[in-house]
Symmetry: C2
Subunit: 396 residues, 2 copies
DNA sequence: ACACTTAGTTAATAGTATTTACTAACCATC
DNA sequence: GATGGTTAGTAAATACTATTAACTAAGTGT
């Protein structure tokens, strides 16, 4: 199984143990600083169970004790935190424009990263390049003495839910690539969990798993770059990413939102990607394929044509957000991807459209919060690392 | 919890037992006639565990033994089936046009049903009507001596995922109704599990749970009636229905597929419901609100205007199916709801549009199968009953 | 009649979380 | 500064789970 977490269907005692261990771990992840007693209260487990599990997790370097609580009353509890010192996870993104790698700790803090701006060529060569960068990354001083939990790789296309295989990467021209197998042929690579996932799914998972602040119930992460995809995550203790029958969940770039509209490279007319995506904007703005889109937009900011194109693209994005709201209904939307570098000119119309249209159905005053990530360079790579952690946590 | 099945987050030994019991039950449901040894092989449980669980389930009237296998080799196994004789579940649909009730057994066979074509008025009166019909239904000869597992109610609008409350039923003018509470005030009602769910979700659950033939991996059930909604189900042993933050998952009738199109009652322009829904078709064809839509379409079948309207509506439905494919990616689509009575004139263009557009993305030869349910009178009610069974199975 | 094979049950075993009783530690008050 | 009250955490005994290993049951083929 390459999923971050696939619930077992039938259970032995081992499964029960691992379930409770993961539950306790995720409780601390989502609410750092709880005491054993707090955890027992929240999870419904007994103090005794929590105590023994916490002890085991502390010995293995997953949890550490912190300061004493001071709530008055009786004996103060001992705060518990994820231990950020003894492990790390590797995450990599094979992007259309280059490779991105991170190593991060259990708290989601990036300990080291590498960003190489050079488009992938063929799968085998790319695997070789990636392997070399991984070796380099693992030599960073703060990493060498830690234990590696595994490696997650994010790729720009749908991954089969049956096996960790990249079905299609339209912008790379790759079809049915077993990228992890290619990677495994390389020397000096880490042990542990190895996972492959779609870039938007990985990003969504990471943003959900390492969310700072009150954790949302579920999120949809819209990745707007060369193409446009979307990842969905929900689940308190075991965040699940729906993938669907062929791994096409969240391929919203190819939902038709303008019947009879422009021809998409997928063969249909009026796909969302014909309105809001890297290649659609380049075409509409006559920007060269290698030139920086955001530079072009900024230098021609006063240009009426540019403003019109951006408004149209932004509203298409807002419409996608609205349709997502009525289809997957996440409790939070996150916008990421390289297109977010275009800033207000894109997000302005998108948020305006979404804001003015979203609440007509239920007539509730509450709005779905939207978070925009300006620089999402390492978001997918870190998300892949997060998936490794989630998977490793059920084994420990 | 009003969900059919909410996985526990932390587990005691009771939970483990119930998990294995449900797993075994669902294995027999999906593959009737397996032996204990077959089940052990499929689930990974040991023969001893399967044996003891099967014994308990047989004593309680959930499983029954059947014929001996004849596979040659050693001692033949004893076929196991769900026991259709000792229990029943009640399911009811509060529809825009009337009330529908079923009682069915563990195999999904409808033992008795009542269909009352009279639109609901206010919630309290409707609850009273429904309660009376339930009493009547339970007096059917094949039902009185059985044990009732509970009651599921399907309603025409989103249900809050937090509590069993109908948030909004636009076609009834109901807002935030605790229908089960109103029902509970009535006399002579059954004990057991009580559930409330959206009509499309209930229908989807039932079609998945009681699927005849090789069970699909996941399905989306599109309910096209006065409005247009959709339910999604996946999960081998514990079918899950995603509901989302506000219960809006599958509200595809309000996805915008024609920007700047006709005004929808939700306030937006170009929602799918403005193209394909009962009220949109009535309006386009100048059919009276109470008259039969299918009669009108059939009598004017040669009419060019009618054909054009139906083609446009059908293609909008096909487009919705396509967008669903790229958003939720179910392994099977099921079309139901009262609009299916319009037959080929609607489904023809829909299937044609979906068929010619669906495979361009992955370029795989496999197509997503589509099943059309012509008469879906009791589909939602039976689905609500199925949810009761799924819920009761984890308690037994 | 016999060996062979597979199905299913039984009793002993290992492992899980819980229960119950305990110790630890802090606070307020006398 | 000792004492009682309160909450946190641990330890040992207990109840319950699924597994293991050995068994019986019931067919087929020679």
């Amino acid at each position: 199984m390459h999923n971050a977490f696939t619930p077992h269907t039938s259970g032995d005692l081992n499964y029960l143990k691992s379930l409770n261990r993961s539950t306790i771990l995720s409780t601390v992840r989502r609410s750092p600083g709880l005491s054993r007693a707090d955890i027992a209260l929240r999870t419904g487990l007994t103090k005794a169970t929590v105590g023994s599990v916490v002890q085991a997790l502390a010995e293995r370097g997953w949890l550490r004790e912190g300061e004493l609580h001071s709530r008055g009353g009786g004996r103060p509890g001992r705060a518990l935190y994820l231990d950020g010192e003894r492990h790390y996870m590797l995450g990599a993104e094979v992007g259309v424009k280059g490779l991105r790698l991170v190593a991060c700790n259990l708290l989601g803090v990036v300990l080291a990263s590498i960003h190489q701006e050079e488009p992938p060529t063929d799968p085998a060569t790319t695997a070789k390049r990636l392997a070399a960068l991984l070796v380099q990354l693992r030599q960073a001083p703060d990493i060498v003495e830690r234990r590696c939990l595994g490696l997650g790789v994010a790729v720009p296309g749908p991954v089969s839910p049956k096996a960790p295989i990249l079905s299609l990467a339209p912008n790379l021209g790759w079809v049915d690539i077993d990228f992890l197998a290619l990677l495994r042929e390389q020397p000096d690579l880490p042990d542990g969990v190895w996972l492959l996932d779609n870039e938007a799914n990985a990003a969504a998972f990471g943003e959900f798993y390492f969310f700072e602040g009150v954790p949302p119930e579920s999120i949809a992460y819209i990745s707007a770059g060369s193409g446009i995809g979307c990842g969905v995550v929900s689940g308190e203790h075991f965040p699940l990413v729906p993938r669907g029958h062929q791994g096409l969940v969240g391929e919203i770039g190819h939902t038709v939102i303008q019947p009879g509209g422009a021809l998409c490279h997928c063969g249909n007319h009026g796909c969302a990607e014909t309105l809001v995506s890297g290649w659609a904007l380049r075409e509409a703005l006559h920007v060269d394929i290698d030139a920086s889109l955001s530079n072009a937009v900024q230098t021609r900011a006063g240009d009426g044509e540019v403003q019109a194109v951006m408004k149209r693209a932004g509203e298409a994005l807002g419409l996608l957000m609205l349709n997502l709201h009525h289809t997957l209904n996440p409790s939070m939307l996150i916008l990421g991807g390289s297109l977010m570098k275009l800033g207000e000119s894109l997000t302005g119309p998108a948020l305006a459209y979404f804001g003015t249209h979203q609440n007509d159905l239920l007539r509730q005053s509450q709005t779905v919060p939207v978070k925009v990530i300006g620089d999402s360079t390492y978001v997918a790579a870190r998300g892949a690392a997060a998936q490794v952690m989630a998977r490793a946590a059920i084994e420990v």
